[in-house]
Symmetry: C2
Subunit: 235 residues, 2 copies
DNA sequence: GCAGTAAGTTAGGACGGCCTAAAATCAAAT
DNA sequence: ATTTGATTTTAGGCCGTCCTAACTTACTGC
């Protein structure tokens, strides 16, 4: 059966509103692409907690809508339109997270879930008003960069704490945002964006790392450390 | 009387999350019931801009879920559970409207549409935080009462300006909230909740009313006046 | 070069929410 | 009591999003 596009020649004049699931797919695909490679069906399925077969179906619909380039058995890549939509959703998500923390007293461990729903129903106007109400933040509460209104984003890659050189001093720039339990734990360790850390030791075979945060010394597992992104302390 | 945890009849009446369309139906049905009568299929269809046949179908699903009592060809009434859900949605809607106006500088003519979407994805926590951030308002920007967290609402009926006695002085308590154009016009007339009005004349045959708002005298059509609810100036 | 496995796709089905067209029911007037 | 007109319901579809089961393709190691 051939994949056939209807109205293939249309110059795509109006950006029809995307459904919530579509926005979620695009966000997921964007995340995989940012890490280098095209998004595999299974990857997407796992990330969205969906059966792989469902992804196959949806991905073809996304291709029909011109949001992704799709080759059977080869994974998908975002088109320019798809990327634009993904970044728009990402902006919504992160602005909402920042706003909830800064304006409504949410903890950084509970904003992700709320933003995950609101991002699909907030208007651009609302997002812009929220952003300006809290001073146009550049990152969300977990340090993730917020795409601009115009759809650009600062995606400079960061080293993870797990890969840092023993003895070096670093500054935490970003941490994983999804797992509330992990976030509460990071918080208890004082590992928040902006904080200075010194990596004083790393046990072999992916063993725990010894770090110094402020005046206290802590041990953290390699898995956790890999979710903490750092930059050189200087900048 | 002792309130007892009921395990007698049902194991667990878990309040499954309702879909957005379901919440919209319940809100609509609530609105008709508040005005006296059971909600007719056609009424609901018109209010939601949906074909009557679709309403028949949905209403049966609502009945299956125990949200409405339904008798063929007889219209629907909310059950206790349905009413609870409707009021919860109404609270969300109105808190959101109030928050957008008071905290984010929205005009009262543009909040309805935004709230109409957000009400379905905001958590109870968010709504409560919004409410407390703006001082637990009792009404939305159009004067509509906000149901409490516990699901009670002040539904004291109000006279419309169109029915007021000529010569009487009234206080505007509430205006229609849906039509942005009407809201802008009301605003230009100074007809906002809390404002004092004197009805100085009414032309016969549903003709225009002459009103005095502050020091200016205005003419308004009967249709518009009927959307403005007033109370005696005294209280 | 080929077999075994992992990954991906198709087939077929379900469900919610909408539609139109046709049939059924109710209410009101003759 | 019957007819008529309005209201409502049923019948039959469509679309989007998901599912499981079965099949196909790609990859990897021999």
């Amino acid at each position: 059966m051939t994949v056939r596009k209807k109205k293939a020649t249309r110059p795509a004049p109006r950006p029809e509103p995307l459904t919530a699931p579509v926005e979620d797919y695009l966000k997921a695909i964007y995340a995989f692409e940012r890490d280098g490679h095209a998004a595999a069906t299974n990857d997407i399925a796992q990330r969205l907690s969906i059966a792989p077969a469902s992804v196959s179906g949806m991905v073809q619909r996304l291709a029909d809508q011109g949001l992704v380039a799709y080759e059977r058995y080869r994974g998908v890549r975002l088109t320019a339109a798809g990327r634009r939509a993904a970044l728009r959703t990402l902006r919504r998500h992160r602005v909402i997270e920042a706003y909830l923390v800064q304006a409504l007293g949410y903890g950084w461990d509970s904003v992700h879930e709320e933003a995950e729903r609101l991002e699909h129903s907030a208007s651009d106007t609302l997002i812009d008003r929220m952003a300006s109400a809290i001073g146009e933040p550049l990152t969300d509460p977990h340090g993730a960069p917020i795409p601009t209104r115009e759809g650009t984003i600062d995606e400079t890659p960061h080293e993870s704490l797990a890969d840092a050189e023993v003895g070096s001093r670093k500054r935490v720039v970003r941490v994983g945002d999804e797992d509330p339990g992990m976030l509460r734990y990071l918080d208890s360790l004082g590992l928040r964006p902006g904080v200075e850390v010194r990596l004083t030791d790393r046990a072999p075979f992916d063993g725990p790392l010894t770090i110094q945060v402020g005046s206290t010394t802590q041990q953290v597992g390699a898995a956790l450390a890999s979710r903490v992104l750092v930059a050189s302390s200087a900048e």
